[in-house]
């Protein structure tokens, strides 16, 4: 039974990172109705930037700051240069374009930094805490991850629901035409949504890197994890993404604990398939009437 709780607790830290990536997916979906499959590519690229800055300056915090800036810029660039023009065409075009961005980013990163994994250590101890003579599967680093995730979610929630910018962003996403008539700069709001998603993705990348080594494609699997979490949460809901992100992390931790880590992608595939069979629009998503 102790083992069960150890696995359960151990999954929360990894789940928080999955939740962050899922939030990034939800943000782009909410602002432009595009699931940005390039999100992990952007996160990977910004994490490499963070690594370079950290190694040059010796400061993990400076590295993180550089990643945040790079994430915002990259999000803006991808949205403005590629997805804004594509959006006027069909949805499959946008999906294919995001995969084009993903392939390009991974190839570019491999050309610049090489394909072999690079170590990117955590800023603080990543060892299990010892309390009451038991080594708990939670480290200070996990606590940092959980705290950052919680802060980001609360901050985003406040931004979207309590500020005029958030209102304008939601209006632009909900009905661009009416928002434009009401004086909202819709284009800017969509760009802002992507920039914020880029920042969240950058945070996720920097936080994942210590637990998974940093290579051009080492985040690929997290795209599937995060997508599963986002879909389970309905793709529209920040709370849903966090809940199911952490849930996915816990399930993976349990699977890994009782079986081994090679079962994890299989279990996630089953999870994704079952949820899509039961509710093709996501468990928390509002079912929309479909023509056929």
């Amino acid at each position: 039974m102790t083992a069960f709780f150890d696995y359960l607790l151990g999954g929360i830290g990894s789940g928080a990172v999955i939740a962050l990536l899922a939030i990034a997916l939800v943000l782009t979906w909410r602002s432009t109705r595009i699931v940005n499959f390039a999100q992990v590519g952007q996160a990977m690229a910004t994490t490499f930037v963070a690594l370079a800055v950290r190694d040059a300056s010796g400061s993990w915090v400076l590295g993180l700051a550089a990643a945040l800036v790079a994430g915002a810029i990259l999000g803006l660039i991808v949205q403005a240069l590629i997805l804004k023009p594509v959006r006027r065409m069909d949805t499959s075009g946008a999906i294919i374009a995001t995969f084009g961005v993903l392939i390009s980013l991974q190839a570019a990163a491999a050309m610049i930094w090489g394909g072999s994994p690079q170590p990117f250590g955590p800023p603080i101890a990543n060892a299990g805490l010892e309390v009451f003579g038991h080594v708990w599967p939670i480290s200070w680093y996990d606590i940092l991850i959980i705290a950052v995730t919680a802060l980001l979610v609360i901050g985003l929630g406040l931004l979207l629901t309590r500020t005029s910018v958030g209102l304008a962003m939601r209006a632009s996403a909900f009905n661009p035409e009416v928002a434009r008539l009401s004086g909202v700069r819709v284009g800017r709001m969509l760009g802002l949504g992507w920039a914020i998603a880029g920042v969240v993705g950058a945070v996720a990348g920097v936080l994942i890197a210590p637990s998974a080594t940093l290579a051009p494609n080492s985040f690929d699997i997290f795209l599937v994890f995060a997508f599963t979490a986002a879909v389970l949460g309905g793709l529209d809901s920040l709370v849903g993404a966090v809940f199911f992100g952490v849930g996915t992390g816990v399930v993976l931790s349990l699977v890994t604990g009782y079986s081994d880590s090679s079962s994890a992608p299989v279990v996630v595939l089953v999870l994704l398939a079952v949820s899509l069979i039961l509710k093709p629009e996501g468990l928390f998503g509002r079912g929309k009437a479909r023509a056929v």
Binding site: D6, G10, S14, W29, V35, V86, M89, D90, T91, S92, I95, I96, A97, F99, G100, L102, I103, S104, A107, A110, M111, G115, S116, P117, P119, F120, G121, A127, G128, V135, Y141, D142, P210, S211, A212, T213, A215, N217, S218, D220, L223, V224, F227, L252, S253, G257, S262, A264, P265, V266, V268, L269, V270, L272, A273, L276, I277, P280, E281, A291
Partner: protein, 442 residues
């Protein structure tokens, strides 16, 4: 040209038979006279072309963007490998087993799996479908990685053909282990000793070669162009110029599986044998695909893609149309996977990774998703570009990591560019131009 075909529609099937027969004879003849290296290239193009036909039907005609066809190729490849390793006679018939039976099994398995997945996929739209099929691309190779009877992360090395055209397992080697360390690191509870940062520990137990081979987007592994031969599990064409006759005691028995009887030659060349099989299957697949696309089923697919409501009102079931497209696409993917397995003489999770699925998507979009010809052109692009880049890079002192990844960068940028500028791909754009020119002239 299409006009001529349409006018003789009643005899279309009859016309396609000799056309593909002549194509097959021609390609088989070319295969016997060229250098084994080019036979290997031909086989790779044929293999990709088979898969691309399925992609053109699924993405182009049925309008379902799939990233999972690489995983469906794995279904075919593993069926091919397992049946040829474990079965010596055909059940019920009692005939001796050979590669043809393995290919048939691979196709059947592809149909079954494709139908089951298609039932789920038909309900999904846009990003849900893309995400689900991406999950397949990651999850299905992971199934093979997980279970020992599927070879685990090592996969199976298949030896050169038996006299009866089958393959044997040459004992799982540890050449190509898929790198699980990322997941191990991520998922294991963090109870590492405090003085060793977890990441450093991870880096030390990942040899550089493994890391490179796990690079899912390194299409060199997939195209087998040999530039990554140190990391690739696959004996590339240049490594195996010809199998020594001692490996193939009586190559004459191979005749049933090979078209032009070249193997009666004692100088049996494995690339030629592989290419002949790939070409034969590609010609059959092309014939089937063309008749499906030009026939009633193709019209149904297009009708559902363009306007599902109107199609439903005309008595076409959109759901069944989508499921049938997925099933047919999966059949072609599985056949391509079987050909891939015998080209690499290897099956393993790393061979059928996400990179393969992405390569298929790139090929079909660049070539032109709405036509079978576009798929075939896409196959040529996917196989040709890495060696083209290699030629350009030669003698310019580019570092290996630039040369190896430049094709992927070009694929990615071209993919974005095509979506932005020419959604029809090469073939679609050429057709648009032709129409415009014709209008201008008339």
């Amino acid at each position: 040209m299409t006009g001529m075909w349409l006018r003789v529609r009643s005899s279309r099937l009859l016309l396609h038979v000799p056309a593909f027969f002549v194509l097959w004879l021609l390609l088989s003849r070319i295969n016997t006279v060229i250098d084994p290296y080019y036979s290997h290239v031909m086989a790779m193009v044929a293999m990709y072309a088979i898969a691309m036909l399925g992609m053109a039907i699924l993405v182009g005609l049925s309008g379902q963007v799939s990233l999972g066809n690489g995983a469906l190729m794995a279904v075919g490849g593993y069926t091919f490998a397992l049946t040829s390793m474990h079965w010596t006679t055909v059940p019920l018939l009692g005939l001796p087993w050979n590669a043809v039976w393995s290919v048939i099994c691979a196709g059947l398995c592809g149909v079954l799996v494709g139908f089951a997945i298609g039932l789920i996929a038909a309900r999904l739209r846009g990003p849900y479908l893309a995400g689900f099929t991406l999950g397949l691309a990651v999850g299905i190779p992971a199934i093979a990685n997980r279970f020992a009877f599927l070879g685990g992360s090592n996969g199976f090395m298949l030896t050169v053909p038996y006299p009866d055209g089958g393959y044997s397992d040459s004992a799982s080697s540890d050449i190509a282990t898929t790198d699980n360390s990322v997941l191990d690191q991520f998922l294991s509870p963090s109870v590492a000793p405090s003085d060793v940062p977890a990441s450093d520990a991870a880096a030390s137990d990942v040899p550089a070669s493994d890391a490179a081979s796990s690079d899912m987007l390194t299409m060199d592994d997939v195209t087998g162009s040999g530039s990554a031969s140190t990391t690739s599990p696959t004996p590339s064409a240049s490594d195996v110029p010809s199998a020594s006759p001692s490996n193939v005691p009586s190559a004459t028995d191979l005749i049933p599986t090979t078209p032009s009887g070249t193997v009666t030659d004692p100088g049996f060349i494995i690339e030629q044998w592989q290419a002949s099989m790939a070409i034969a299957i590609a010609c059959i697949a092309g014939f089937v695909a063309l008749n499906l696309v030009r026939g009633r089923q193709g019209r149904r697919w297009r009708a559902v893609r363009d306007d599902p409501i109107a199609a439903a009102l005309s008595g076409i079931s959109p759901a069944m149309s989508k499921v049938s497209a997925f099933t047919v696409s999966s059949l072609f993917a599985a056949l391509a996977g079987a050909v891939f397995a015998q080209l690499l003489t290897y099956v393993g999770p790393s061979a059928y990774g996400v990179g393969l699925s992405l390569a298929l998507l790139v090929g079909v979009i660049l070539g032109g998703r709405a036509s079978l010809l576009g798929g075939v052109i896409g196959a040529v692009i996917i196989v040709g570009l890495p060696s083209l880049v290699g030629n350009v890079a030669d003698g310019r002192g580019w570092p290996a990591q630039v040369t190896d990844n430049a094709p992927n960068l070009i694929y990615g940028l071209l993919l974005v560019l095509v979506v932005l500028v020419a959604p029809g791909g090469l073939v679609g754009t050429a057709r648009d131009l032709a129409v415009r020119v014709r209008r201008a002239v008339m």
